[in-house]
């Protein structure tokens, strides 16, 4: 299984079509976590999953749906790109605890507890205050632990994140965020959070979203030093990549992503009034075909091949494999 370097992207939000699949292939991507929901409720999420099922059928020659560790191996064996479906919110669960099991059966193997706003479960990094996990939130965490739905805390607020790390009986992930002492933004994570994640044996996906790394002019070398510093803090077994790539997405989607239906005013999300549109991506990462640039960059900042393999994919591979298993009591 190890004749080829695994490349896993723990968060992609892009427009999925044949072109994108070929870019993933060209970049050597073996597995990817595809975000298939932001603000959608249960009914809307079911439609999204329906679209994905059609996409899996139409492109069965290139992709393979991953619901288990064994599925990842099967995708590797068949030389197809493994695609894991996940949600960047728990809005799909609405107020119904049983829906954790329903969406797990449908292959939603990753759920971020909150997107950008407070919800029934917890609070987001953009809320002024953060309560921590609600009564319902604790029950949802228990169910996700039980069914093997990986908990993602990327957009989640500080206190809800710390509560969840403590409350969860299994390691959790932050699929796409960076240390905030390197790039200070609301979306990046504090030393306290990342220390707790490290204790928890959780995973951090270093994120290439331009607003989270200081903009498109950040060089490949700077990005690779960001990875290196993150590894120094978290340990080499607990860092991967989660690019948060938004390839070929229309401006309407940006508005949905930021404003959903919850406000009639403009909300800039990770952007700003001066920079309201889609961010431009650095020249060294224009699409998934540029993953080899990161491998080259990591070599150039002096990382060993063994460590590069872990960060590019092996760590996520092992973590997903463990996380997606139903819990044996």
């Amino acid at each position: 299984m190890k004749n080829k370097m695994m490349v896993i992207d723990a968060l992609v939000l892009s427009h999925w079509d044949k072109e994108f699949l070929h870019l993933l292939k060209a970049g050597g991507v073996t597995c990817v976590h595809a975000s298939c929901g932001l603000w959608e409720n249960a009914r809307e999420t079911i439609s999204k999953i329906g679209e994905w099922q059609r996409f899996f059928e139409e492109h069965a020659d290139l992709i393979y749906q991953v619901k288990t560790g064994e599925d990842m191996d099967e995708a590797l064996r068949q030389g197809k790109i493994g695609v894991i479906l996940g949600l960047q919110n728990t809005s799909a669960l609405e107020d119904e605890l049983s829906l954790v099991s329903v969406f797990n059966t449908l292959g939603i193997k990753v759920m971020q507890l909150t997107y950008n706003n407070q919800n029934l479960i917890g609070s987001s990094c953009y809320e002024e205050h953060d309560n921590g996990l609600s009564r319902y939130g604790k029950l949802v965490v228990e169910k996700m632990n039980e069914y093997g739905v990986m908990i993602d805390l990327s957009h989640v607020g500080e206190r809800t994140t710390l509560d969840t790390i403590q409350y969860s009986s299994r390691p959790v992930a932050i699929t796409h965020a960076n240390p905030n002492w390197i790039y200070p933004t609301k979306r990046n994570k504090s030393k306290e959070v990342l220390s707790a994640l490290r204790e928890n044996k959780g995973m951090l996906g270093v994120c290439a979203y331009p607003h989270l790394i200081g903009g498109k002019d950040t060089s490949l070398q700077e990005f690779c030093y960001l990875i290196k510093e993150t590894v120094d803090f978290m340990g080499v077994d607990h860092v991967g990549l989660g690019t948060d790539l938004t390839y070929n997405m229309p401006i309407d989607f940006l508005h949905w992503m930021r404003m959903g239906r919850w406000t009639h005013e403009i909300d800039y999300g990770a952007g700003s009034k001066e920079n309201p549109s889609w961010p431009e991506w650095p020249e060294w990462f224009q699409s998934p075909k540029d993953f080899p640039n990161i491998i080259t960059g990591l070599k150039e900042v002096g990382m060993s091949l063994e460590d590069i393999e872990k960060i590019m994919g092996e760590n996520w591979y092992l973590f997903f494999k463990e996380s997606f298993q139903r819990k044996r009591e």
Copy 2:
């Protein structure tokens, strides 16, 4: 309009049928706020409103739907019971700010910001922590202020309540709760909250729900002293009644009320393990036909007729009239 004493109940959760309408009539009730949603989402709430529209048509000889102050007057003129529809949650709004206007058009003139759990807007009195109003919550409060949807904070947590009182540009209501220094429970309200409500020129509906007044053995005299003490604290213009009557409701509804879909365990709400079922009501308030008992009781604790008239209905009448108006900027 003052030839008959107005009797207004600011919160009733009962089973609505012809029998119940006759009990309201027998008790001299002129207007009532009927709770028509607890955990329901937008779609489900629309069905509830559909059922209510059918009920209004079938019983047009006895009831009149109240959406404005003028409707209350028209109901009085026609000698019919005015019925205001309201929700004990903002779950019907889901994540969509525009739904405030939609449900207002459908006649939802009262919305409690949270029921027993945290939601997208704020936190409840049963959550361990309370953040206050979320980003979306502030926008919803603005829209409710604009359209004249009365804000109810009865089940809302302390901080969300204080935030809302401060943030709302209009007076708000606690339709059904008591001072917690008289009867300590999570559902009753602190001096800090009631002081803020008093400053805000808001209204408090004294509640007869047995768990909130010390049980079914609380005497009519004790209940009337509760009203008197509440009036001494709030001022005689800012207190009314909100019985929270649950007449003729099945046990399945109690489970829905407490557990919704959010837990698979038993939650006792305002009840307890020792007292898990519907509470028994005091002998002096078995149904709305017993409102005259409260009038008698208030006379017996020495309240003037003028003050009794305010508390029994006039205060809510004036408050509803003002609250339901669309705001002129």
